[in-house]
Amino acid sequence: MLYTIIKENTYKDSIVLMLLSNKLSAIDGVSKVSIMMGTPANKDIFKSSGLGTDELEKAKPNDIVIVVDTDQEQKVDEVKEEVEIALKGESDSQNTSKGQEAHNWKRAMELANNPNLALISIPGQYAAMEAENALNEGLHVFMFSDNVSKEDEVKLKQKAHEKGLLVMGPDCGTALIHGVPLAFTNNVNEGDIGIVGASGTGIQEVTTIIDRYGKGVTNALGTGGRDLSTEVGAITMLDSIKALNQDPKVKVITVISKPPAEEVQRKVLNLLRNIDKPVVTLFLGDKPSYQEENIYHAYTLEEAAVVAVQLSNGDKPNFEPTTADVNVVLKESQVGIKGYYSGGTLASEAAMLVRDAFKDTMTEEQSDRYVLKTNTHEIIDLGDDVYTKGKPHPMIDPEKRIEMLEKSVNDPETAVIMIDNVIGNGGHEDMASELAPAIKRILDSARQDGRQLAVLATVVGTAQDIQGYEKQMEILKESGAIICKTNDQMVRTAIQLICGKVEQPIVDVQKFDYTKENLAVDDKVMSFINMKPSVINIGLKSFTEAVQNSGSECVQFNWRPIAGGDEKLMKVLQFLNYYEGGTI
């Protein structure tokens, strides 16, 4: 009896087919076997040698055809099995890492398919140690963990730099690596604007505005908030800028940070002055006092995004701030602006603009509970440690925000309340629906009290985010909130409502001397930003799913502290491991 096996479009070295042929011939009960490509000439050979079958006719020249002559039908399964083994070969061994989990580095490295990134979100006191392990394994590091000492950060970043690797963080909440969003990041279109940022929500605001303008960002590299401190010296930012400069796909480089230490700012600007590509900088909090030929110094996040879009389109930078239409009648006594933010950088921007508008008339109180506090205004970052101790972040948990909203309405001086809704990966699945009833309640309550109130809201997100950008805006709008397109627009609208105004800086173009810099960057960094990362995720499991959903490979490393969590003993073991070059 003849059995035909056709393997469509299958190519193997001749030697593989010959070995298979020998193997099949040796099976007891197989009287004849022939393996050939299914060309017309070969089909003739099958027929003339008594191995012609009807199925054979279906074979095409690029198919491997196997015809077996055996009287024992059960032998066909054995033949099929041998064929599968032989034809499977080395090329089909991929994609095995998905869904597998590891409990130690060795296993994680075995399971992962050429990993190049460790995503670390374990408690801060252990994070530095695992980051070092990751660097020793030749991986770039994204540290979501906070509470890592500055000394450890310096040590890790120096080590990474020497090895041609990047350390993003600690306390890095946002990054896009070749289009793959890590941690709290929006789903942004890919494109020719490259971003380096020391601020998570700053990156989110800028990338989402760029996306909504129809442009895109392929790489947004987070550095962590302390990268531009004197001690760290912007190690990650400088390497990231060089990488974006070397990447031919990047047309415009955008740098976002709080105002750095002076000598660090000098270092960053000197590097940027070495670069031919157009650059946009935003040192949020500094009002630009000059412009440069090739470096546009922006004042706000929206301005940085809009100008990056204009430069990427080859247009001249031209940013005109806007305000939203608001139909609210305020009493003369209503003069206060309240901002209840989940995004720290957005809160800082709000404080900066309010300060700028009322600098001559207001007196600030110093308090670590507020980003800005005067007798009338208050701007709060509810994501600050002061508010999150033992509680989830306000991007995930609406409770604290609702509490603040309810409280604010009791103050008859309040004119405007500003809230942000940062959607995207890592965020609450429907924050708008959580906040909407509270907004409605406070608007009703104010009305019953004989006054009106403006609740302004802005959604940081894109149409690709799972929560749905339009849907979130719609829900907030229905609750009575006035929707602003950006945080910049929201704050300027609030300021205008109480008769203030923020002037855009009008500045001259200045020229600066600079020292020549070596712009070379390690190939490992270039390849990192040029392909979807293959990730080992140490910590929060949801990050693994997010990475896998974006089409990248990720192995979950279920980390447990060794030595019962005894830090001292762990450090000794870490040292010994490193010393011996082994792993536990």
Binding site: L17, P40, A41, N42, P61, G89, D92, N95, P248, S527
Partner: protein, 256 residues
């Protein structure tokens, strides 16, 4: 990861246009085949089997790296003079492989002499016995012959990815380029047959290149160095491909 191609063949070069997309067709020990939307094939791999006009030459390390990243069906796109895969970019800004069309340098006498030391007897008990191949070669010189059926017998016949009959045809075509004997009409017939699905995509690539006088470096080495060593290096190509090709060359040179 950024990788660098060592060299690019002259037939591969025009296919590596900005935006052209390839899919991985097959992966072998020595490299891989990629095919574009028009079915045009490029072999990317090492030169252990020689270099090919339709090849991208890789050093062994690069080849190994690519093989760990890639699987059949993956997409590669040409962007900014790079072959881009989602796990690596391969820079193509490398030298072009020489065409080696200086067939006039072939020392036919020397080649014939060295063929004396190689036995082709094993072919006598196959579908390609001496008489059959000789008959084809003789008829290829005769413009009155119609060789379509005979060529159909050879094309795609035999073991391997490049079936024996095809390798013999490539050898005969090389014999023709160093010592013209095939009537134009028959080259046209073979060209026309190559448009039909008669053989594997790799084999088709070898024959269509050979019709244009383009051969792998292990074959063209014979016109620069007709030594027995050169022949042995060709014999070592593939499991039988090199030998089959050499048999074709031998038969076409010793026809008289």
């Amino acid at each position: 990861m950024i990788l660098q191609a060592s060299a690019v063949g002259s037939i591969a070069l025009p296919l590596l246009n900005e935006g052209n997309t390839f899919s991985v067709h097959s992966i072998f020990e020595k490299g891989l085949n990629i095919v574009d939307q028009n079915g045009e094939l490029i072999f990317a791999g090492t030169d252990e089997n020689g270099t090919f006009p339709f090849g991208i030459l890789l050093d062994p390390q690069t080849k190994e790296t690519i093989k760990t990243y890639i699987q059949v069906g993956d997409t590669l796109t040409v962007r900014h003079n790079r072959l881009t895969h989602n796990r690596f970019d391969m820079l193509l800004n490398s030298k072009t492989l020489p065409l080696n069309m200086d067939f006039e340098h072939a020392n036919i006498t020397q080649l014939k002499e060295n063929f004396q030391d190689i036995s082709f007897k094993a072919y006598d008990s196959t579908d390609f016995e001496r008489a059959r191949v000789l008959s084809l070669i003789n008829r290829l010189q005769d413009p009155s012959e119609n060789l379509e059926e005979t060529l159909r017998y050879f094309i795609g016949r035999g073991q391997g990815l490049t079936p024996t009959g095809d390798d013999i045809l490539v050898g005969i075509l090389y014999g023709h380029f160093i010592n013209h004997f095939i009537e134009h009409k028959h080259l046209e017939t073979l060209k026309a047959l190559m448009k039909e699905p008669l053989t594997t995509i790799v084999s088709k690539r070898f024959i269509t290149c050979a019709l244009d006088g383009l051969f792998s470096s292990k074959i063209t080495a014979l016109q620069h160095d007709p030594s027995l060593e050169s022949m042995k290096r060709l014999i070592n190509v593939g499991s039988s491909s090199g030998m089959d090709t050499l048999y074709g060359i031998y038969m076409s040179l010793t026809k008289e």
